[in-house]
Amino acid sequence: MRNLCCLILLLFALSSAPPLRAADPEDKVVGLLDGLLFFATNDKVSEVTEEMQEAAATLDPKLMADLRLRLAKAFPEQKNYQLLGRHTQNVLQQYESWVVPSKDLCLKIDSRGPTADNGIKLHVQLWQEKKVLVKCDAVLKPANPVFIGGPNWRGGRLVFVVVQK
């Protein structure tokens, strides 16, 4: 009986992810967030692309510094955090939003409604090309970003950051 309950719970959990829905242009915006892809490394990033320069230039320097400090605390194995890409995206009330700072690592977001303290309850899925890496329910607040430690790359690691604006 207990095993059956566990099976039912798992099926419920797996089916709780919202289905793919096309965006509706009339859908209400419930929030704005930044999806940032960082390369966490202990080495100096020698190659800086045009996109990296643009992403860094458009991000508030104070926010960038603050994020780097926080990332170093959350992932103490790496010292340097190089911003690779950025995507500022509205969160829609009823329909999914895609946050794509990179073709290689992107985030699908569904709103689960606002919180009492100006946050947003989200269902997020981190995708690496055609493969979903993790499905999460998370609460995003202006003061509390979400950090997702992703796959290793070139001696460092890719870290996806979601910040509420």
Binding site: R2, N3, L4, C6, L7, A13, P19, L20, A22, A23, D24, P25, L32, E51, M52, E54, A55, T58, R70, L71, K73, F75, L84, G85, R86, H87, T88, Q89, L92, S97, W98, V100, P101, S102, K103, D104, L105, K108, L126, Q128, E129, K130, V132, L133, V134, K135, C136, A138, V139, N144, V146, F147, I148, G149, G150, P151, W153, R154, G155, L158
Partner: protein, 219 residues
Amino acid sequence: MNQNPNQPSQEEALTRFIDGEASVPQPSLPPEWLTEKAAAQQVGNLLRAHLPAHQEPPSEEFFVSQLMQKIAEESPQLAPISNVIAPSFWSRFRVWLAPLATAAAVLVVGGVVLQQKAATTEQKLAKMTTIGSRIQAYTPDPKVSASLKFDDSAQATVINLVGLEAVPDTQEIKAYNVASSRASSPGAPQQFFAANDPTKLLFVMFPGQDGAPAIHELH
């Protein structure tokens, strides 16, 4: 059913024919009647040869058993009566026990399979970690696990994915600086423009199989 009660029945006619009381024209004889008569004559000969004429059989059962024994002795190609094995306890109940045993086996196998599935379920549920009501996570790849915590020092929710396959060093990470976007109409491909140039279309995203994004780059 005999249509005419005055006419002898088929069985009666056969008995009378065997006993020699009735003579039937040869061409109208059914072939099995001749066989029956020959068998009856053989039995009669056997009885006459082995039983005194003045002695009557003690009982019907004895008569039949003696007769069958003698026939068996005279006909070695037939299986002797003593070789007919009486059904044992097991064979009597085998007919009943077989379906029961099958049902029990199905139940046992089903139970084992269900238990294994439940064990897998528990393993997967174990991967769904919850920190208060703040966050829940699930990793579809069984080799990947997600450790979740609210990091007080970073004041951030941290999802640490462990066991992921590394991105090959030779692969370039294609990054963008993208402005907010939404589809022009429900179901239409979504267009993504550059944050610093609203006229610069960077890529188009199509909904792919199993919800996977299909990105078509333009720049």
